[in-house]
């Protein structure tokens, strides 16, 4: 059956904000799907709440709705657009659940929308645990023993059958949310209760534990004719017990014989057929008992997934694109393999390299969170590396992780041989509990001489992997014994590089510099070669220029084309808090811009989730770690005419100086300017020159200096290490005790760099500005007013564009200051400025907090809010096309009110306090748009998963420091018919203002207290501005409990103000939906 001609318009649902378990991979899959469907002539309607995605660019779909992902809102889109079909399998778990909601509420039936790809029945069979189990038993496959339960007593009786340890999995949650392992009865009771609360249908699955078994994944595709192929097999380095998203994973499977592999393949085919996924990709997870090969099916995702994105990048096979085409009727053999062109998409990719993925964690941001890795995913990002051998790929991945390591130890970062070297007992205990640091302890264990068998006993990590690590450690010893760079034989040096050793590691081993190692090895012909990822192990010629480095004989990169300029874009590496999809968005736009100009665009990145690492985003793609060495190797090969470092976040900026010193042509704003903007003194002089104000500040390299600066500045002060992103270790100090503690912490994080101390402006409004300069003209793309006060990290604060409360004069002043700074800095490309506006002596005073001459996190939001593709315009400026030449004569004028809201991972970290501060904690963002601020804000809250209540009980507790207009807000809530509850202090304030409130007991005063109300589902909203931080405080426990029970919790007065006004507006006005294309009919069209 070829293309379905009965369908004209297809609805795609995106996955919403970036959260743990659902990241850029669904922008990648959704973008591919949009392109694939439009290529076939279908009209594509897209709904996604995440403005930082490429898929929500107006040119990606025909009709794009940046709207909250709830079934009610999507129903409005359906009512307007009347699509013929909905494709639910490309928007992650969110898209799948939403499609199921639409089906359940009769929306699809009402508007005759067909579900394509997978039917509601198939989705249910795969997702509902007992249905899945029954299906597996029917086809003769084993699943771990288990049963779903609806209550704790029921759970206890089932436990007798299953025994401990026992896995507790809540049904219908995302990324394995709430899944954990109970080792004893107490834990069991707690986990079951927690799981029941988390499950939207109040159900958990109790399962036999297969902890320590080998874990595998198969990526499967099926077409409408029942042709099924396996795209990729993945073997987990970490055995069962660690969520696959948190595991180091390896493709292809390494330790299965063909007999065992084919049996797993047979099982995969049987599963996808029995579940009945009609077309598209699915992911099936297996556990294998290493002692006897007993195979059990763990789960199946009837949709594209994080693993399928990984599989696509690992093999070159575009799973999402093909899935989209299969959904509209094509069969696999009717579709071409883009990479080879001559062959078809109906085959099984074979690879001639090894792929290693390593997750990236953010526990440093959540010191109260349990860092133990379990069946609930906790990582925030991942990096992937390709090498000819596991050893090479593994070491490349470790340096691609960007945690300061340059391989498997001996890089100046690891603790071995230092005063902090862990003792053998500590090593043993760290091995026994899976954690984000365990990989380093494997090395220490080997250094201590522990045998592979012993390490295997403790960790369950397959001896094959362990022995490969041991080979690396042995190679390290061999290299160390050589003593120095000039004693090493070329063959040994080559072998070290083939083992994945970085120049940095060799420099540490031989007490020399990275650059000397590089010089020596180049002089001796030990040079990186690049091989292509071609789906077929070179059996056919590949046309897709997708490369990885290795140390072999033959290089496959194409020569420079005469007359064609080449520009390299450095990406952002693995997602982390503070650096994620927004920067990938900018890098993609840079690539699109260069291609539009006829320049060859070359992408370098190591993040498999992203659109930037899609093989058709750029002319050439290098899947490589973002380190000086790896980037220089690429530059040596491709000889670029320019390298762009300002779009990928902090990652490429950190490389800029070294690259520039090595003679790499960095284009755009100069490296000097970028550095000057970070240099305190230079920056202060610069502002003085322009007569701009800055909060009093100082810089300290020692504690003594810090104290003396603090004395000059006065409390409160903001303390932070320099050269870090996302406000890492940034704190506000109100007294000397806090100051001492936080400065000490900042010095540790700063790693030798100074600590910055600023006067903290209390009650100030923070403003973010994104602008582009081309040396002649400055365009201010957007001015955003933060909702939360200054002091909350700009990435965590909601913001509104255009500003809703700032006077015209202030906006004009900010605008002019921005232009002046851009001109004086000679900005070529993007610039972001943060201001604080503080009322002093009755009039607003504008302070400059920070200037960053580079892409910021808000660039995609501004582009979506104003209709001007900022990153693209900036990239063209950098390539030498002025703003005037691009047709930009004036600032874009926003036509609606857009609110950006941050989304937090607190639900994944049980018990962690949710208070916002100067250290960024959010993982993603959503956007709400309307013609007025209250509704735009309401939409942003809904999109972020915060359902503002229309009736019920609201708890209010406000710190004395910030009682502000709480009485006024309380009065509004009372008038709307809410019951208000407060603790004593706040109750007194409110009663004094004539508001009726119920008092409630403090937690230690006994029951019933607030927690009881929450547990009973008798509380709809918490407004709690913090007095102190920490999960151990009463208020901390209240906030954490609110998160656990899914009760919205507002922690700033400004946030409360916006929310109350939104709630009021919702009483009289409905949310409506509007396509981006209607809002900006001219967006993205070439001028």
């Amino acid at each position: 059956m070829p293309r379905r001609n009965d369908l004209k318009k297809i609805l795609l649902i995106g996955s919403g904000p970036i959260i743990i378990g659902q990241a850029c991979e669904f922008d990648y899959s959704g973008t591919q799907a949009c392109k694939a469907l439009r290529e076939e002539g279908y009209e594509v309607v897209l709904v996604n709440s995440n403005p930082a995605t490429i898929m929500t660019d107006p040119e990606m779909a025909d009709r794009t709705y940046i709207e909250p992902l709830t079934w009610e809102i999507v129903a409005k889109v359906i009512e307007r657009e009347r699509p013929d079909a909905i494709l639910p399998t490309l928007g992650g778990q969110t898209g799948l659940n939403l499609a199921m909601d639409l089906a359940r509420h009769g929306v699809l039936a009402k508007y005759h929308v067909e579900m394509i790809g997978a039917s509601a029945e198939a989705i249910d069979k795969a997702e509902a645990r007992d249905h899945f189990k029954a299906a597996m038993e029917k086809i003769g496959l084993e699943v771990p023993k288990g049963q779903t339960v609806q209550s704790l007593p029921e759970a206890r009786s089932v436990l007798q059958e299953i025994g401990l340890p026992c896995v507790v999995r809540p049904s219908f949650t995302l990324g394995g949310s709430g899944s954990s392992i109970a080792y004893n009865r107490d834990e069991f009771d707690d986990l079951v209760q927690h799981g029941l609360d988390l499950s939207p249908i109040h159900q958990v699955l109790l399962e036999e534990s297969v902890i320590g078994w080998k874990e595998y994944e198969m990526e499967v595709m099926r077409d409408a004719d029942d042709n099924v192929v396996i795209i990729c097999s993945i073997e987990n380095f970490d055995p069962m017990g660690v969520h696959t998203g948190d595991s180091i994973t390896v493709a292809p499977a390494q330790t299965l014989t063909d007999k065992e592999y084919q049996r797993m393949r047979d099982a995969s085919l049987a599963v996808i057929r029995e579940i009945g996924v009609d077309t598209g990709g699915s992911n099936i997870q297996f556990a294998i008992d290493p002692k006897n090969g007993r195979m059990t099916v763990i789960e199946m995702n009837p949709r594209v997934s994080r693993s399928s994105a990984l599989a696509s990048k690992a093999t070159g096979f575009p799973i999402a694109k093909i899935a989209a085409k299969l959904a509209v009727g094509y069969r696999l053999h009717e579709l071409a393999n883009d990479i080879t062109r001559e062959t078809k998409a109906c085959f099984e990719p074979t690879i001639d390299y090894v792929v290693v993925k390593i997750p990236r964690f953010a526990f440093e941001k959540f010191p109260e969170a349990d860092p133990k890795l379990t069946t609930q995913m906790k990582s925030v990002g991942e990096t992937m590396a390709i090498g000819r051998t596991f050893k090479e790929a593994f070491q490349k991945a470790l340096r691609g992780l960007e945690v300061g390591s340059f391989g498997f130890g001996c890089d100046g970062k690891d603790l071995w041989g230092t005063s902090e070297q862990p003792g053998i007992d500590e090593v043993r205990s760290k091995l026994a509990v899976p954690g984000d640091q365990r990989v380093w302890y494997l090395r220490y264990a080997m250094k201590y001489g522990m045998s592979i068998d012993e390490i295997y006993e403790i960790t369950g990590i397959d001896p094959w992997f362990l022995d490969n690590l041991l080979e690396i450690v042995e190679m390290e010893d061999e290299l160390r014994q050589i003593g120095g760079l000039h004693n090493v034989e070329d063959a040994t040096l080559r072998r070290a590089k083939q083992f994945g050793f970085s120049d940095r590691q060799l420099a540490v081993l031989w007490n020399t510099t990275e650059i000397d190692v590089r010089r020596h090895r180049k002089a001796h012909g030990v040079i990186a070669t690049f091989k292509s990822v071609d789906t077929c192990a070179a059996e056919f010629e590949a046309y897709t220029p997708y490369y990885y480095s290795t140390y072999e004989e033959e290089d496959e990169t194409p020569p420079k084309r005469p007359g064609k300029r080449r520009i390299v874009i450095l990406g952002g590496g693995p997602n982390r808090i503070g650096q994620g999809i927004e920067f990938d968005y900018c890098c993609c736009h840079a690539s699109f811009a260069l291609r539009e100009l006829g320049i060859e665009s070359i992408m370098v990145n190591s993040n498999p989730e992203t659109v930037s690492t899609d093989y058709d985003t750029s002319d050439l793609l290098f899947f490589e770690p973002l380190t000086t060495e790896d980037v220089l190797n690429i530059c040596d090969r491709v000889q670029p005419d320019g390298v762009i470092v300002q779009f990928g976040g902090q990652t490429p900026l950190n490389l800029a100086r070294a690259l520039s010193n090595a003679g790499v042509p960095i284009i755009g704003t100069s490296v000097d300017t970028i550095e000057d903007a970070e240099d305190r003194e230079k920056f202060a002089n610069f502002l003085r020159k322009l007569d701009l104000k800055q909060p009093a500040n100082g810089i300290a390299r020692t504690m003594a200096q810090a104290r003396s600066e603090m004395n000059k500045i006065g409390f409160p002060v903001l303390v932070r290490p320099s050269f870090v992103l996302g406000g890492r270790a940034m704190e506000i100090c109100y007294d000397a005790a806090q100051f001492e503690r936080f400065v000490a912490a900042a010095f540790i994080v700063a790693q030798g760099q100074p600590v910055l101390i600023d006067r903290f402006l209390e009650d100030a409004i923070e403003v973010d500005v994104d602008a582009i300069g081309d040396g002649e003209r400055v365009i201010v793309g957007g001015i955003m007013e933060h909702i939360e006060e200054a002091g909350v990290h700009s990435g965590d604060s909601a913001c509104v564009l255009p500003p809703h409360s700032l006077p015209r004069a202030v906006i004009d002043e900010i605008h002019d200051s921005t232009c002046k700074m851009a001109a004086l800095l000679n900005v070529r490309g993007l610039m972001n400025v943060q201001y604080a506006v503080k009322r002093e002596d009755g009039r607003p005073v504008v302070y400059v907090l920070e200037v960053n001459p580079r892409a910021s996190r808000t660039v995609p939001f501004v582009s979506k809010a104003t209709g001007m593709p900022l990153a693209k315009a900036a990239a063209k400026v950098m390539a030498g096309v002025s703003l005037a030449e691009q047709g930009y004569a004036s600032d874009p004028v926003p036509r609606s009110c857009s609110v950006k809201e941050a989304v937090f991972p607190f639900r994944k970290f049980v018990g962690v306090d949710v208070v916002l501060g100067p250290e960024m904690k959010s993982t993603g963002e959503v956007m709400g748009v309307s013609d007025n601020m209250p509704i735009a804000f309401a939409k942003s809250q809904l999109a972020a998963g915060t359902v503002l209540p229309s009736q019920g009980k609201i708890f209010i507790s406000v710190a004395d420091r910030a009682k502000g207009n709480i009485a006024e807000l309380a009065k509004m809530l009372e008038e709307m018919g809410f019951t208000l509850i407060a603790t004593k202090g706040t109750a007194l304030t409110l009663e004094a203002a004539g508001v009726k409130v119920q008092s409630i007991k403090k937690l230690q005063e006994g029951h019933p207290n607030l927690l009881d109300l929450m547990i009973d589902g008798d509380l709809q909203l918490v407004i709690n501005t913090p007095r102190g931080k920490g999960a151990r405080t009463d208020e901390g426990r209240i906030r954490a409990a609110a998160v656990l029970h899914g009760i919205p919790c507002i922690t700033t007065l400004q946030g409360a103000d916006a929310a109350v006004h939104a709630m009021l507006a919702l009483k009289s006005e409905e949310m409506t939906v509007e396509a981006v294309q209607d809002r900006f009919p001219e967006y993205g069209r070439k001028k």
Partner: protein, 376 residues
């Protein structure tokens, strides 16, 4: 770390690849080819069809799961030489009872590791299959190239004689417990079971196991057997096996098949398929570099379904030469070569690929059932 001994591969076009010797030391010549399967090196090593060939694995990590007693396709490795990017130092699998290096040594197979196998594959892909010499003894480049050029190659040679069994035997080994999801293993043959005679030109044992699992009595005859020899066995069906090299010099086999065609149901695989073609008057030709791997897509023209197949052949049946009695039933989706055919009048069909898989996917095992139905 033990000292690595150098070994070299020289191609007839003068290219030299220098790496480390592993397995047996020695010097062999053969046609250099590559296999793209990521698993199943032990099955590949023991596949008699690789006689006369130096096989390069495109996947880079080989030896990971060791060697075991079960996963064999004949009693010993038959290929001339074996080339990998990296041979695993450590074996990890619950069934493993040995390692690859020791296994190659035991059977005197010369191995080469540590070369840029992808560069070699790309050379073969662009230049076509080439003769080569693999040596850990002679490391002189020009001497090796001269030897490669002087080596006999595959064309026109009868390699079947070197791998076929000497005597007729009964086959009673079922498919392994890994072949089915249920882990079930076939039971003994019922007394009134049909009798299948397999003509062994270098047959992979998994074919015989499949035939046994059809519930038949299986007798394996050497490929030299005449039609009379076969008919004397009173077979209900005749199977033509895979085997090494060029089908054209195998006049005796072609003769035998002509003598059986129309008399007994016939099913051929790989070389057996080519021989059936030749017996019916078709021609065969040498492919540029052949199909060797476990991911080759084949379209079944009768059902419209695609099978992912295991393949190992350097020669193919020329579709232009097919007599009208032969109908193409399967073709390769990558290059449209003939993958299967059936006889219009006689009960006979064949496939170029390997439905017995091993190593490879099980998509095509229905063909054995089809043969069983044909036998009746």
């Amino acid at each position: 770390m033990q000292m690595l001994k150098t070994a070299k591969l020289a191609l007839e076009d003068g290219t030299i690849y220098t790496g480390n010797s592993f397995g047996a030391e020695g010097e062999v010549d053969g046609e250099v080819c590559f296999n793209t399967s990521m698993t199943g090196y032990q099955e590949i090593l023991t596949d008699p069809s690789y006689r006369g060939q130096i096989v390069t694995m495109t996947y880079t990590q080989i030896g990971n799961y060791g060697i075991n007693a079960e996963d064999v396709e004949s009693h010993k490795p038959h290929l001339a030489g074996f080339i990998v990017r990296e041979n695993s130092r450590r074996v990890s699998n619950f069934r493993a009872d040995g390692d690859l290096c020791e296994y190659l040594s035991r059977y005197h197979i010369v191995g080469l590791a540590g070369i840029d196998t992808r560069a070699l594959v790309r050379r073969i892909r662009t230049q076509g299959a080439m003769k080569g010499v693999l040596s850990s003894l002679d490391l002189d480049d020009s001497s090796l190239v001269a030897k490669a050029q002087a080596s006999p190659g595959l064309v026109g040679r009868d390699l079947v004689r070197e791998v076929m069994p000497e005597n007729a035997t009964g086959w009673t080994e079922p498919l392994s417990r890994w072949a089915r999801l249920s882990n079930e293993v076939a039971k003994n043959v019922p007394a009134n079971a049909p009798h299948i005679v397999a003509l062994d030109y270098g047959m992979k044992w998994n074919i015989a196991r499949h035939l046994f699992d059809l519930g038949g009595r299986v007798t394996v005859l050497p490929g030299m057997a005449t039609a009379e020899d076969v008919l004397a066995q009173k077979p209900d069906g005749v199977f033509l096996s895979n085997g090494p090299g060029d089908p054209e010099p195998l006049g005796y086999a072609i003769e035998t098949i002509r003598g059986l065609l129309g008399k007994k149901p016939i099913f051929g695989i790989c070389l057996g398929h080519q021989l059936l073609g030749l017996a019916c008057g078709a021609k065969t030709y040498k492919l540029k570099f052949g199909h060797r791997g476990a991911n080759q897509p084949v379209m079944n023209q009768l059902t419209g379904k695609v099978e992912i197949t295991t393949q190992n052949h350097g020669f193919a049946v020329d579709p232009e030469s097919l007599p009208k009695e032969l109908e193409i039933t399967h073709f390769n989706l990558n290059d449209n070569t003939v993958e299967g055919m059936r006889h219009a009048k006689a009960p006979a069909f064949s496939v170029q690929y390997h439905p017995e898989a091993s190593a490879g996917p099980h998509d095509s095992d229905y063909l054995f059932g089809q043969f069983r139905e044909m036998i009746g």
